[in-house]
Symmetry: C2
């Protein structure tokens, strides 16, 4: 299903036919298993069924393979955040929270990418392509913050969107790193990482003056494309963003 050569021929001849891709996939699996630190170039080659020297025809060194994976990771990350944001539908706040959840979901569901991107210790700044991809991903959060900032209640001073974006990013990243990954996920918490982050963001937004009561009970009361979105509630949730005492 991956390399056509292996299916078409008996045992694959001298040339692999799709080695670069095979190496990326192998590395992805290995990193998911043993972390970026434990991942080894030789292992990836072995898994692809080639000699240890073969990978050097496709990657300058081990680091470049790692960077390639991180790059793909940022791209997938961006596309998941974009999908989650969905241009602010059905309403800005709902979409905004969906972005936060998408951040956690990515950390949970793509541990190998997340690891390569944020935990492998590779110098992101040193690689312009990586840096650009990382920036593109962040720009989704930034754009969302921009839209949200524009909805700030009139009485209060309008918060700088860039700052909001950085705040949301740090919250998401903090929760993901501490509670949503590997063994850290096993820390016994009073709530799930998703709930934790949602409450955190809601409290934060309330601190900026946003009305954060949960969305109106009925379906979308807003017109689809960029609705005016006047505040539609009281401003103080019935029990706080951390849920009912139950």
């Amino acid at each position: 299903m991956s390399w056509r050569k292996e299916t078409r021929r008996a045992e694959r001849g001298y040339h692999h036919g799709n080695l670069k891709e095979a190496l990326l996939q192998a590395a992805l699996g290995l990193i998911a298993e043993k972390g970026a630190a434990g991942f080894t170039f030789a292992d990836a080659a072995r898994m692809a069924g080639v000699s240890a020297a073969a990978p050097y025809r496709h990657f300058r060194d081990r680091d470049e393979l790692l960077s390639s994976i991180a790059l793909r990771g940022f791209e997938q990350f961006e596309s998941r955040l974009t999908a989650a944001w969905d241009d602010g539908r059905p309403d800005t706040l709902t979409a905004f929270e969906r972005v936060g959840k998408a951040y956690l979901a990515f950390a949970r569901e793509e541990p190998a990418f997340y690891n390569a991107m944020f935990e492998s210790g590779l110098p992101v700044d040193a690689n312009p392509a990586l840096q650009a991809a990382s920036e593109r991903a962040f720009n989704i959060i930034r754009a969302a913050a921009e839209r949200l900032a524009a909805l700030a209640p009139p009485g209060t001073p309008r918060p700088p969107a860039m700052m909001m974006a950085l705040h949301i990013w740090s919250m998401s990243h903090g929760v993901a790193s501490l509670f949503s990954r590997g063994d850290a996920a096993r820390r016994k918490l009073p709530m799930s990482p998703d709930e934790l982050l949602e409450a955190e963001v809601l409290i934060y937004l309330r601190g900026l003056g946003f009305p954060t009561d949960r969305r109106p009970p009925a379906k979308s009361a807003e017109p689809p494309p960029v609705p005016p979105e006047a505040s539609s509630g009281s401003g103080v949730p019935p029990g706080g963003p951390w849920g009912r005492p139950k």
Copy 2:
């Protein structure tokens, strides 16, 4: 100053006299330089002037040396957070913010420890001593949150202190990881990591209903030990926690 043998004798004899400590120091320096991933057991041995096999008399393997460093890191971390909290003096909010700053300061000033603790990928849960030390450090934040939660304005529902502590932790950790470390620190930001975190925490606390105007102009208007601390201000800062537009 470190090994007495070396100062007392000419070139140190067969026995080092303080190898364990020398290895820890050497490793600390190496990690600060090249990160936990780049640090090598053999290098530490070389730096201490012993053969590559000698360290095995003091550490089961490379991982145990790393864990020892992480353990020390958590201990120092705890003690810095404790000092910053200073039992809530001069007032709870001021002390609380000092704790956040101490978190960043530790990440900045002790990169080797921070790296070993949070970025080395070693399984914290697997080591009971490490886990306990990490918990003790977190408990400082938790205790601080406890005190702060007790001051929640009467009208609003009282936030769970544990949740607050986790939120503050995730913010601090997120900012530290993303903006206060290594090359990531070079990201061009509209404000310093310290300012970013301070604003984030203030907005968050305001979202919980705490009055977050800056401390009263004069000296301590509160009695030293656990003052009653009735809210002493309006509740809405003059321009928002992110500072004057200037």
